[in-house]
């Protein structure tokens, strides 16, 4: 069985470490916040200018001046700080955020990522994604391994306009955990019940498969 959205988030959560500052993108990455291991403290960065994002407010706490980068109303945790957009992207661009998790349309063997623009469809903008991938050293991309039509999203070369060049090293898909190095994908883990053959068949870019591919643990 391919991973559910929640399982994807659970696998990404294993990349967290105590004391990490983490930026989570919109969609599946946001769910990672639900699976922070007990006893571990991480501080969530929201690029509109909040370090220490908390849960959604109650009706009583609701405040129009307190939102996250997805424009959702949120709260701040104890120990949070709030600052300008320039300060926020100084943190991001300056490499101070320990882990960035974001979605993508495609990644390729060179670590390129395409996540913001499909030519011919309406272009809404890149928001902070280009700054996030340019600034972070530790990035995890979450996405489905292949499109609904079965076309691989792990490619020899991205076909869509890039969000960033040569910046992705870790990809968690619904089928596998794959690392990118030396111009190749390296299969590290497979989703429970998924065969190596299926992963190979759905990976268009060069994939290095070790003799033993362990099943993912959550």
């Amino acid at each position: 069985m391919s991973l559910s959205r929640e399982q994807l988030a659970m696998r990404v959560a294993r990349e967290l470490q105590d004391g990490y500052y983490v930026n989570l993108g919109i969609g599946i990455p946001t769910l990672v916040a639900n699976y922070v291991p007990a006893g571990m403290n991480v501080m969530l960065q929201s690029e509109n200018g909040l370090l220490g994002m908390g849960q959604f407010p109650t009706e009583a706490e609701l405040d129009a001046d307190m939102i996250n980068a997805g424009k959702q109303t949120v709260t701040a945790v104890k120990g949070a700080s709030i600052f300008s957009s320039a300060e926020s992207f100084a943190m991001i661009r300056g490499g101070h955020v320990d882990l960035t998790v974001l979605g993508a349309f495609e990644v390729d063997v060179m670590g390129n990522i395409a996540s913001w623009m499909i030519p011919g469809k309406l272009i809404k903008g890149m928001g902070g994604a280009m700054d996030l991938v340019a600034g972070a050293d530790n990035i995890v991309v979450t996405m489905t391994h292949a499109s609904k039509h079965g076309e691989s999203k792990l490619l020899p070369q991205c076909s869509l306009p890039l969000t960033g060049a040569g910046c992705i090293k870790k990809v968690v898909t619904d089928l596998a955990y794959v690392e990118i190095a030396d111009g190749k994908f390296w299969l590290k883990e497979r989703a429970p019940g998924i065969s190596v053959d299926e992963i190979v068949a759905k990976t268009a870019g060069e994939l290095v498969v070790p003799e033993v591919v362990p099943e993912m643990e959550f």
């Binding site: 929201s46 690029e47 509109n48 200018g49 909040l50 849960q55 959604f56 407010p57 109650t58 009706e59 009583a60 609701l62 405040d63 129009a64 001046d65 307190m66 939102i67 996250n68 997805g70 424009k71 959702q72 109303t73 949120v74 701040a76 709030i82 600052f83 300008s84 957009s85 320039a86 926020s88 992207f89 991001i92 661009r93 390129n112 623009m117 309406l122 272009i123 809404k124 903008g125 890149m126 928001g127 902070g128 994604a129 280009m130 700054d131 340019a134 600034g135 306009p161 890039l162 969000t163 960033g164 060049a165 040569g166």
Partner: protein
Amino acid sequence: MAGFNKLVGSYAEAMAGLEDGMTVIAGGFGLCGIPENLIAEIKRKGSRGLTVVSNNCGVDGFGLGVLLEDRQVAKMISSYVGENALFEQQLLAGELEVELTPQGTLAEKMRAGGAGIPAFFTATGYGTPVGEGKEVREFDGRPYILEESIRGDFAIVKAWKGDRYGNLVYRHTAQNFNPMAATAGKITVVEIEELVEPGELEPSQIHTPGIYVDRMIVGSFEKRIEQRTVRAAN
């Protein structure tokens, strides 16, 4: 004191001098911390052919979205414009130009503009459509693109508390792009929620020193929420 008193008596006075074809930098992120009454004044005034620099373009019927209704905006410089059907229509019809700019680059363009720095190198956008045609230089083996800063004929800003010297404090995440916008206008106009006496704001806690502010007005705000997400109370 008179020379330092930034208060003006009306929104018409606050936006006096705004002409067709000018560049306006606006603070705000989504609908959070937007100078909603100054935007409404630009609509009332009917200035046209404007270049508007703002992270987003409001929504249909609120925020910067209202300036699209009478086609007052010729060009938007933004990082994300996906919340607005009228924007989409005018873009597809070729009536509106958009320059999509990464969010951090946009913030830094405003900051640099206000700080007298004409351009800066950033890794953001290298190897993407954003980097096309821009000068590239390597530092420590990594390529960076040259991005030019932005200044506005006007900057419109929303703050929480201010004194008549124009010293400002922002509230929560309504800060966002406002402090940079405040520095980057030839004429910077601020609307605040609450006027306080000089000395009430702790000098070391002021976000925007009054030197950046030319005009200030006290407004009342709707503060519309874009994505109302709540959890059940325990």
